[in-house]
Each structure stands twice: as C-alpha cells, then as structure tokens.
C-alpha cells in the first residue's frame, strides 16, 4: 500500500539539469579510496554540454543551480496520489502532529517534552496546537538543558509515563548522550527487566539548507551502537505518522529520526488509523537489476536517480530501510537474493555510519548472493560547510548514484 503512495511523491520532482548529464564524465565513486572520493565533482549543464571541471572552476561557475530540490513539490504529488485511495492530504510535519495527537488522545500517559514545544508550537510546528489542547503538564516547555530533560523523560518513563522527548535539532541531543546511552538504553537490561523505558526521542537532523556544521548533524551513526534502543527514520508523511504512533506504543526506547528538509512533503494519507511496523523496511520501487538501500532524505535523491536510470534501461529496486536499528535483514536479504547487487545511499558520514554497519551485515549474511562488492555512498567525512555549493558536495547527489549504479551493473 505504501509503495503506491510513495511512488507518487518520489516521482513528482522535476530535475531537468540532471537528466542531461553525461555520467561517464563524472569521477566514479570508489569505496576504497577516500582521496578519490574527495575529488569527486558534479558536472551539470542545462544546455546539454558536458565538461570536466576542476574544483576551482566549478566554484567560479555559479550561474546554474547545481542541485535541484530533492523534495517533492506540492502540485504533482497531489495529482498522482489522490487517484489511489481516499484520504486526506497533509504535510509531513502535520502527519507527525496527527500521529502524536492521536496517541495523546488515546493514552493519557503520553506527554511531550522539549524546547519550545508548547506555547511556541514547536520549532518545526510538529507540536503546534497540542499545548492548548492538552495543557502545560502534558506538553512541557523545558529550559535549555538536554541532559536534564532527557534524563527526566527517562525517569518518568521508569514509572510508566510515555514521554516523547524532542530535541530541537538532533545535534543537541549529543548533550544528552549519557542519558540516552546509559539510562535509556540500558536500564531495562541492568534492572533485570523490572523497568521498561517507553520513551520516544525524536527530532530533525540531517543536512539542511546552509544551516552550518553544528546544525547539520546526523546522529544515527553515533547512536547505532547503543544496546537496547531502536532507531527508525521516517521519510514520507505516511510512514512519519505510522512510525510515530508505533514508536509511542512501543515499550522499547525508540529514536525517531526526522529530516529538516522533509517537513514540507505533501502526501495523501488514509483517514483510518494505521501504524507502521518499526522493524520493517519499505519497498519503494521493486526492480530486478540492483538493490538500492537508503533512508530519509536520500530516498528522494535515489528516486530521482532512478528516473534517470530507468531512462537508461536499468531497473533498480529501491528499498527505504526505515529501521536503522535493527536492520530488516529479511526484506533486504530477499532483495539481495533477487538482484545480487547492492548500493547503499545514505546521508550520514562515511566513517562508522549506518552504511558501514549495513555493508558488514550484508556481507556477513548474504555473501554468497553478491555478484559485486557492496557499494556505499555516504556523505563526506567533513563538517558540513556553510557555502551552498560546498554543502551540496557534502551529501550524495543523484548523479553520483546513477554513476555508481552503472559501475556496479557493468
């Protein structure tokens, strides 16, 4: 069901400059050599010309926008989605809010705490209106003390409350790392099962629009080793609402990763109540030639690249892994057994990222089924620069995905 709705969202973006790239001119991404990757650059010519540029001349050439919006635009999505089933249309942040509100209605133990979630309505409007409806005790505006209010949420959860802790930006949760790692993740185990910690820790992360290094962090790689937590990443209004509801209902601590640039995605979601399985991956586009595993915003870059690839005659299978911990090795495995080639496209850093763990997991479990080494495209291991062009080069772009697929499918 979800695949139908989401194809609409992914296909709606229009990307004329990229369709004209001659990808053979691009430096091929290499898994082994970091230095080769750092020299990678993107060539875009809307007039159809393709040239190889050194880094300096690319900086000079600023007339064309290099990277188009990898975010679904409004009009196209609405048209393609409403045909599939009746429902209501909303933006991703509204879907999150709807999920949160429904759960708060359903269970009086659910409360929200975070900075500016109450009267301000949430810095990304996810909690807008909730304070008026549920009151100050259930939608708590905290002072700026991530360590303390995350700890508070966990302590409250030990007694049976179900707090949803919001980090205004995921990067701020680094200040609460001790609480998340030692108390949130481990208390169920070290108490011999006496306490459960049904918290949801959520917030926007990822590289945005020139937000600077400290506000463009991707914490999934830091949190992934913490035992005892689950991590999920939402990418569409449908799975945002579903995952939010499932995370709140789960007895385990769940970290829900949202992305700053995806809050305004529009989609039609069902009217009836639904939740998404926390441990399941989502099949975005079935295919035969290659499995592309991705999550969060990179899903849209992948779908964009998929359009190009389809035009070139490839048939990629795109899976949004959604569950970052634990991996849905079942869905992934079935896909690998079918296509024998894997490309991982992620936004977190190369070193110690989700892709690194996933590569290891796939190699361990499905080695016999692979015809080519697992390739992983990640963000560069650099603090995210402020300059727009540099920032664009930090994350994986659709053109690089196309090149990688072509290389893998040779």
């Amino acid at each position: 069901m979800s695949a139908i709705l989401l194809q609409g969202a992914g296909a709606a973006t229009s990307l004329s400059p990229f369709n004209s790239i001659d990808s053979s001119k691009l430096v091929a991404p290499s898994r082994s050599s970091l230095s080769v990757r750092s020299k990678r650059y993107i060539v875009a010519g809307s007039d159809g010309t393709n040239k190889s540029f050194g880094a300096s001349s690319l900086v000079a050439r600023r007339s064309e926008p290099l990277i188009p919006n990898a975010v679904a635009t409004k009009a196209d999505t609405a048209a393609s989605s409403t045909s599939s089933k009746p429902g209501h249309e909303l933006l991703l942040f509204e879907a999150l809010q709807e999920g949160l509100e429904e759960e708060m209605d359903r269970d009086p133990h659910v409360c929200v705490m975070g900075e500016d979630v109450g009267h301000y309505g949430g810095s990304y409007k996810v909690t807008k209106g909730l304070a008026d409806k549920f009151g100050d005790l259930r939608v708590l505006d905290t002072p700026i003390c991530e360590n303390a209010f995350t700890g508070m949420g966990i302590g409250a959860a030990m007694t049976g409350l179900r707090p949803v802790i919001e980090g205004m930006n995921m990067g701020f949760l680094l200040l609460a790392f001790n609480q998340i790692s030692n108390n949130c993740g481990m208390l169920h185990y070290t108490s011999g099962g006496q306490f459960t910690i049904p918290v949801v820790i959520r917030g926007p992360g990822g590289v945005g629009r020139q937000l600077g290094a400290e506000h463009s962090q991707r914490l999934e790689s830091y949190f992934q080793s913490i035992p005892g937590i689950q991590m999920v990443a939402c990418s569409t209004p449908y799975n945002a609402k579903g995952l939010m509801k499932a995370a709140i209902r789960s007895e385990n601590p769940v970290i829900l990763f949202e992305h700053v640039l995806l809050y305004n995605l529009k989609e039609t979601i069902p009217d009836e109540e639904y939740i998404c399985n926390l441990e399941e991956a989502e099949m975005v586009r079935p295919g035969e030639h290659i499995t592309i595993l991705t999550y969060s915003r990179m899903r849209y870059h992948v779908m964009q690249a998929a359009k190009t690839l389809v035009n070139k005659g490839y048939d990629p299978e795109v899976i949004d892994i959604r569950s970052l911990k634990p991996f849905d090795l079942y869905t992934i495995g079935n896909s690998v057994k079918k296509t024998h080639r894997v490309l991982i496209v992620e936004e977190c850093m190369r070193t110690g990222g989700i892709g690194a763990s996933l590569t290891a997991a796939i190699n361990e479990n499905f080695h016999d089924y692979l015809d080519a080494p697992v390739m992983c495209l990640s963000s560069q291991d650099v603090p995210t620069p402020y300059a727009g062009t540099l920032e664009e080069w930090t994350v994986v772009q659709p053109a690089q995905i196309v090149t990688a697929v072509e290389q893998l499918c040779q």
Binding site: G151, N182, N183, S191, P326
Partner: protein
Amino acid sequence: MALSRLSSRSNTFLKPAITALPSSIRRHVSTDSSPITIETAVPFTSHLCESPSRSVETSSEEILAFFRDMARMRRMEIAADSLYKAKLIRGFCHLYDGQEALAVGMEAAITKKDAIITSYRDHCTFIGRGGKLVDAFSELMGRKTGCSHGKGGSMHFYKKDASFYGGHGIVGAQIPLGCGLAFAQKYNKDEAVTFALYGDGAANQGQLFEALNISALWDLPAILVCENNHYGMGTATWRSAKSPAYFKRGDYVPGLKVDGMDALAVKQACKFAKEHALKNGPIILEMDTYRYHGHSMSDPGSTYRTRDEISGVRQVRDPIERVRKLLLSHDIATEKELKDMEKEIRKEVDDAVAQAKESPVPDASELFTNMYVKDCGVESFGADRKELKVTLP
C-alpha cells in the same frame, strides 16, 4: 527470638507514661510504640526555609528497629568486603558502612510510594527499601537469583515494587532521572515525593543544576539529598568545591543541613522535606556523613585521609553506637540483648551469603533477554525472520 523474649519479660513491668526529656529513667517496653521525644545532637542549619524542630518524635520500637536495620546493613557491607577480597564479588564494589543512618532514617519518614533513587553506593538503600539480603548477595556475586538477575551488579540494584529506582553508575546521572520520577508523581497526582540521592562529588555536575532549575520551575516534589561524606573518591570537598555549603547551592531552592550520622535527625529532616516538597516544590538536604571504607574496594581509603580521622569518626560519630547508647540510656534494651541481636544478625547475614553462594549463575541464553520488550504484535527478527536465538559453543 530475642524480641519475643524481651516482650514476655517486659510484660511484668508497668507501662510507662509519656516522657519528654531523655534524663528520666523508666523501663520502656522494647516493643512499645508510645512516643519518646529525643533531641538531635546537632542543630539543623537551613537556607531559605525554617529549620525543623530538634525534638524528634520516635518510639522504642523505632529506635530498636534502627539498631537492627543498621547492624544488618553494617554486617552486610563487611561481608561484602570479605567476599570481594575472596574474589567472589568482582568489578566495582562501593560500600556504605558509616552512612547507614541515612538509609534507615529516611525509610522511617516515608512510605513505599515515595520513590528513592541513588548512585552506585546502593546496597544499604536497597535493603532499607525492603530488599532481601540473599537477593543483594546473589546480585553481587552475579547469580541468577540476584535482584537484577545477575545482569546489573553492585551498581545496579533496583526494586520496582518498593519504588527503589536504583542503582546508577554514572555520577550525577540519577539526578535528572529523580526529577523525572517526581514529574511522574506530579503528573499522576500521587501525593508522593522522590528522594534523589547524590554525593558531594556529584554536586558539581551541571545536570544537577539543570534538574534543580526544572524542578523549581515546575514545583516538582523532588528532594535532592546530598550525601556529603567529604570525599569524592580521593578528592576532599575543600579541593573540589569552591562552596562547601551544598545545601545552599540551590540558590533559590531551600536547603537544610543535617547531621547524617544521627538516624533521628535524618528522619526528622526527611519528614520535614516531604511535607515541604508536596507543598512548595524541591528542597535540598545535605547529610553530613562519613564512609569508613574507601570509595570502592579498590581504594584503600587511607591515601587521602588519615587513619586517625577514620577511627576518630568511628569513635565519636558512629551511627550504630549512637543508637546503642540511646537504647541503653533509655533502658530499652540491655547490653547483652543488643549483643545477642548483633550475633543473630551476623548469623542471618552469613546464612544469606551461604545461600547466595549456592545460587546458580545465569544461563547463556540470559545474555539476550531483557534487551527489548516484545509488543505491538511486532517482533524483532534476525536475517531469517526467526527469533534471535543464542547458541554458544
């Protein structure tokens, strides 16, 4: 046993009238719960609030219970010391002997609905909350029958049904948790309070002040108790804190400094704090106490303080000796009776140790239990959609 002997013997004596001053000598029935009032040795010092009265309402039953509980805790810690040296307890073992008055005094002032959360020096607090000796020793020795099924260890004792929330290894991290417990109590309208215990070392953590700010802002029924034993591991308070008045550090939050070696003073302060917290929000209690052992079993405890200091405190301020003197001076029990009680407690502890030594270690499959809770009809699968099972060679 000793108690029944005492009560049968004392039935022949007249029931005493209520006395106000400790100087009157009358034979009190040891199971008598008629009130006695005793003055604390040291007055309370307060910050932004009224001091509670120095006259503590208690009874012979209660004082006897103090003696018994403290003696049991002391014996348990000494037994843990020997077990650690015999390598049956491994890792870190932080002993509480010297500080027992805090655990028993607090228990006397509160109910099991009030929550307690503390740091890694949690053995005696666990016993105070109703934990069994054999559960404690089993957990220390890593056995399956331990209170955390052997998975927590010395620093992770918990007892959910008695509202004892542990047992935390990271210094100061339990303070925000404690404020969270208080928040939940306010949310659920429990009319109960939370005691969040921490040490003089943890008093310098930023999260303490963050949590204090939140608690004061939202009027949470949180009582932050600083167990000031004057040493943060090897660093004395004068070397680690610019302001040694931990009870004043709350600034806008009232505080009370209490003689932590006097179980009755602790009881009075906790009672006062509970009433305060339910009405006015957070309060800080600084308990002036002392630990005889080092920070942990790997610390001899004498490199940063003199043996004279330790023995001096033991002679002058020992909590059990103080209660013993009270019992003797009020004729609640004789020397011999107290000695017999101690012998019995020793036997009780030895039996618990023996029983714990016989307990089984956890199975290998326990490694993966209690990682996640299965719920929502949703299960966590491995690569083959089967449940993750452990097979160890």
